[in-house]
């Protein structure tokens, strides 16, 4: 899988499709690939991409808690606001600056003006920016003990992924692979291992450093006999709704280890930097 992290990524938070498309088109010649979020939920999914620039449409009327969420999710990004020409008051612009916005994009977009701002942003990024210097010395451990409640899966995945995101060694693609594979491992543990009995627990232990992410998921079920994994990409299996879980684990993780009885799985994701 290729690493797209060398490209610049911008995130536009707007509920207006046409505005999102216009900003994306204006940013493209400057080398930005744009992702669009129409609301403040799910921002963490975009945070995996580590966008350089996050542009928030003021017509969404972001509250102070939305701004702090933006700052929390995108600590290394530059925050800009998007304002409609002639429609935004000086007061609302001032409050945006107080919330940490560094600049504005005015809509409809004047491309020369925008590219001037992007040029200044480039210079600013080269002069400072955060350093991943501490990465090699940092280790993060996460331990969770949760009931077999499938609605918790996305929260567990979000928590573990956000700990891994702090390490620059992991490409956005690795973080996405981690999210999908961990989600698989958790649903296997809760649904097949613990048979969705809520009082049976699932334990998650993640150990993250700059070279690898290792996540172990243990359920209280009897385990299973790991036979050969059937290939869900065979033409006769393609239309089957199930049977892709274990296949995906093996495709997405660098290493997958089960214990002998099969109620514990360990997923390993190696840093691209480490493997060269």
């Amino acid at each position: 899988m290729s690493d797209p992290s060398s490209d610049r990524v911008a995130l536009v938070v707007t509920g207006r499709r046409e505005v999102g498309s216009a900003v994306a088109a204006a940013l493209e010649p400057a080398g930005y690939r744009t992702r669009i979020a129409s609301r403040f939920d799910h921002l963490d999914l975009h945070a995996d991409r580590r966008p350089l620039l996050v542009v928030t449409d003021l017509s969404l009327r972001p509250s102070p808690s939305d701004w702090s969420r933006l700052e929390r999710q995108f600590p290394d990004s530059v925050l800009w606001a998007l304002v409609d020409r002639g429609r935004t008051s000086d007061e609302s612009l001032l409050s945006t600056v107080k919330q940490g916005c560094q600049d504005f994009v005015v809509y409809p977009i004047d491309r020369d003006e925008l590219h001037g701002k992007l040029h200044r942003l480039d210079r600013w990024c080269h002069s400072g920016g955060s350093s991943p210097a501490l990465d090699p010395y940092l280790t993060t451990e996460v331990r969770l003990d949760v009931p077999s409640d499938a609605s918790l899966i996305e929260h567990v995945v979000r928590h573990v992924a956000s700990q891994c995101r702090d390490f620059r060694a992991y490409a956005p693609r690795t973080l996405v692979n981690l999210r999908i594979a961990l989600s698989e491992a958790l649903s296997n543990a809760m649904i097949y291992g613990n048979r969705q009995e809520a009082d049976r627990r699932v334990q998650i232990h993640a150990h993250v450093d700059a070279s690898q992410i290792e996540v172990q998921v243990v359920d209280e079920g009897p385990g299973f006999e790991l036979e050969e994994i059937p290939d869900p990409t065979r033409p006769d299996a393609l239309e089957s709704p199930g049977g892709r879980g274990l296949f995906l684990l093996h495709k997405l993780a660098d290493d997958v280890r089960f214990n002998e009885c099969g109620n514990s799985v360990t997923l390993v994701f190696r840093s691209e930097r480490d493997t060269g």
């Binding site: 975009h46 996305e154 089957s240 709704p241």
Partner: protein, 110 residues
């Protein structure tokens, strides 16, 4: 995950925001089947704001596509980001679904 259902002419558009995984796939399935039973036949799933999908989310898409086809309808997917595209390629589901680059393209083809 949240999803929104809207209509453009005779096409039912489903936008999935967030992730489509085991914890929430059933809500999506029930809602689309409801639309199908109400007579909708052309469906477009827009993934512009979808973060990721796990195997059960893929399974739901597969079973919906089958149900829609059985009723003589059609399902198209649009706006898969590069991660989702990779997932569909890995599982070869890109050969099962009609995938369009944009919503507009999918609407033209439906």
């Amino acid at each position: 995950m949240s999803f929104e259902i809207s209509r453009q002419d005779d096409v039912t558009i489903i936008e999935i925001a967030g992730q489509l995984i085991v914890g929430n796939r059933q809500a999506l399935k029930d809602r689309v089947i409801e639309e199908l039973e109400d007579g909708a036949r052309k469906f477009l799933v827009d993934f512009e704001e979808t973060g990721y999908i796990d195997s059960s989310g893929l399974g739901v898409l597969v079973s919906l596509s089958k149900k829609i086809r059985e009723k003589g309808g059609e399902l198209r997917l649009a706006n898969l980001n590069e991660d989702l595209r990779t997932l569909f390629e890995l599982t070869k589901l890109d050969t099962l679904f009609q995938v369009a680059d944009s919503r507009e393209q999918a609407l033209r083809e439906l």
